[in-house]
Amino acid sequence: MNILANLALRGLATGAVYALVGMGIVVILQTTNVMNFAQGDTGMFVTYLAFFMITTAKVPYSLVLVLTVVAGALIGLIVERFMMRSVRSRSHLSLIMLTLGLSLVFQGLAAFLFNTEPRLFPPLVAGDSIKLGPVVLSRQDIVVLLATIIVFGVLYLFLYRTKQGAAARSISQDEYAARVLGIPTPSIYMLVWAIGSALAGLAALLIVPRFSLEPSFMGLIQVKAFSAIVLGGMDSVFGAAVGGLIIGVVENLVAYQFPAIKDSFMLIVVVIVLLVMPQGLFGKRQQRRF
């Protein structure tokens, strides 16, 4: 029993990683209809900057955290302003491709500038693991879990309690109508990309101490984050968060029994979920009159 609880809770910590990345992707997807395949690598690139700030420039951690988020947001602004804006009306496929291209750019740049050797990223919070009854969690895991909850809360408030959030949701449904009504859509797009990419930076920075820093380190995590979104239903931040946690837990339990098939298993589960309930666990069932 203890083993199971331990596995589940650790799985939750891993799942929080997917949830963090997934929520950033969903925020952008929901408003702009762009599935951002560069989400992970945006985070990866920013994390390199953080790495050098910490190791070379000895900037304090708290400041690095802020700077990383700001750098992420800046990248988001630039990407929106100079890339996505001119092609906004293209097909979903073109938009996917653009972000795939962007992710190649980030990967190539990171490898070119910093080489591909894995680097150890110092943990965010030092200290021994914490025991909660029978369960042992590292401090890092707890930070990630807490961050997931906070990010979820902030995003929820943004989307459902601010007028910018309402505007963002309206754009996702009918961009033309939003413009006709006089909603300043360009600034909403920039805001959403800034928020999404800032989250990419934050997520990558919180995650990286569990792995090692290399140009490809976000690849698999992003695949899992996509799975989380699909599981959760694509159109809700809540779904992405819960989807991520579920995937983390199930994966950890499967890995304990059958370590070899851990990754494939989850992917196949996602496909099955997709086929049985395409709207995901928490997606809105379309119910409109004709």
């Binding site: 007028k163 009918d174 119910q287 409109r288």
Partner: protein
């Protein structure tokens, strides 16, 4: 009040409007009639800044609108109700309305909201309902209410009768007359020439991007060419 002077605009390489000049005075309903593709919708989009003015000028109360974004044009007191209603289907009626007053301070939004609920009681009943669940007629009411939310002095209406049953069309046109009485000017783009000429003060006929004819609604309604082309000969 509104002056569109020698305006050229269009999409990509094509100029849809060729030196179009129209004007509208305070308290008027002016109709712009014409076939599909004549440039009626383009004209409205150009006025609201959804499309760039290539040549000529658009002025509203002597303020030049050229180059302003739709958001800025709305702030000047012009609202645009697009063809096909464009209700946000998953947002509630109330959210739909509030978004139409995006730049207003909160207190003002509240009072406008109440005003809309008084004017369109069906919307008050459905305020928490998603826009997509309304019937076609109700959606048109919501679209009109959204247009009125920012308290405009001029409203641009694009084909408000499209796809509506004749009976509901009657209600829509009655609303236009009420609007004029309350001091809102209306620029109306319609294919339903007969109905439009009944409520309008003046009208323009747009043919392939040019103003082919203009005059009082009464004169145009009895013009032979208009009768034949747009009123289909039945009277």
């Amino acid at each position: 009040m509104l002056r569109v002077d020698q305006v050229v605009s269009g999409y990509g390489p094509i100029d849809v409007l060729n030196h179009v000049t129209i004007s509208l005075e305070k308290g008027e309903i002016v109709a712009v009639l014409g076939a599909n593709g004549a440039g009626k919708t383009t004209l409205l989009r150009t006025i609201t800044g959804l499309i760039r003015v290539r040549k000529g000028s658009v002025t509203f109360d002597d303020k030049l609108l050229n180059g302003l974004s739709p958001a800025e044009v709305v702030r000047c007191g012009i609202s645009h109700v697009p063809e096909g209603r464009h209700i946000f289907p998953d947002l509630t009626v109330e959210e739909n309305l509030l978004l139409a007053a995006y730049t207003m301070p909160r207190s003002q939004q509240k009072s406008r909201l109440e005003a809309m609920y008084t004017m369109f009681s069906i919307l008050a009943e459905r305020r928490r309902q998603a826009g997509g669940t309304l019937s076609g007629g109700e959606q048109q009411m919501l679209a009109l209410a959204r247009g009125l939310m920012p308290n405009p002095r001029l409203m641009l209406l694009d084909e408000p009768s499209l796809g509506l049953a004749p009976k509901i069309i009657g209600t829509v046109f009655e609303t236009l007359v009420h609007l004029r009485e309350s001091g809102v000017s209306v620029l109306l783009v319609e294919q339903n020439a007969k109905r439009s000429l009944e409520v309008a003060d003046r009208a323009y006929i747009l043919v392939t991007g040019r103003i082919a004819l203009e005059g009082t609604a009464h004169d145009l309604a009895s013009n032979d060419m208009v009768k034949q082309l747009y009123l289909g000969g039945i009277q």
